[in-house]
Symmetry: C2
Subunit: 111 residues, 2 copies
Amino acid sequence: MAIPHANAGEVISVGPLGAALNAAITHTIVKTDGLEVIRIVLAAGKKLPPHQVPGEITVQCLEGKVDFFVGELKRELTAGAFLYVEGAGEHAVHALEDSSLLVTIVLKHKS
Amino acid sequence: MAIPHANAGEVISVGPLGAALNAAITHTIVKTDGLEVIRIVLAAGKKLPPHQVPGEITVQCLEGKVDFFVGELKRELTAGAFLYVEGAGEHAVHALEDSSLLVTIVLKHKS
């Protein structure tokens, strides 16, 4: 199912999906030249292997519980937990419960 | 009270402050060359008059209820509501209840 991106000023819910979480999929909320905002949905046990993006990111756990790895650091995130990752910082995720994360990526362009 | 900014990988709570909200103040969570993340705290009745910043922003209501104005548009935001504002978009806030908002600003530099 294609989910349209938000237009400027359009209100999108980033609250917990609750019972709807197990039917939800990762989707992009905002995508512009400068910014990308994604809700990442991970079922318990799923992993995002180590990866990196050029720009800075912020991660907010909306529901569930994940281990979030920033390089060698492991952080357990539950609802309301937020962290920042530097541009090109290697990170990985391991969902301990059915979870969703709000991820904001500052897109970095060649200047 | 000075609140230190988050370091990369440091976990910060952006959950509702609840009873602690009325003693809280607006504070910066992350500030880098490319990104600024702020928790804005507004008591019921308080207003942020129309203003703009060069870069794009996202706004997430963490608790309470505000009217958020994007140009002529008025949007009521409650916990879990999220919106995007284009760079240089004029916006204003009127808190209908004691509220806190998570605001992410993509800092725009002269190239």
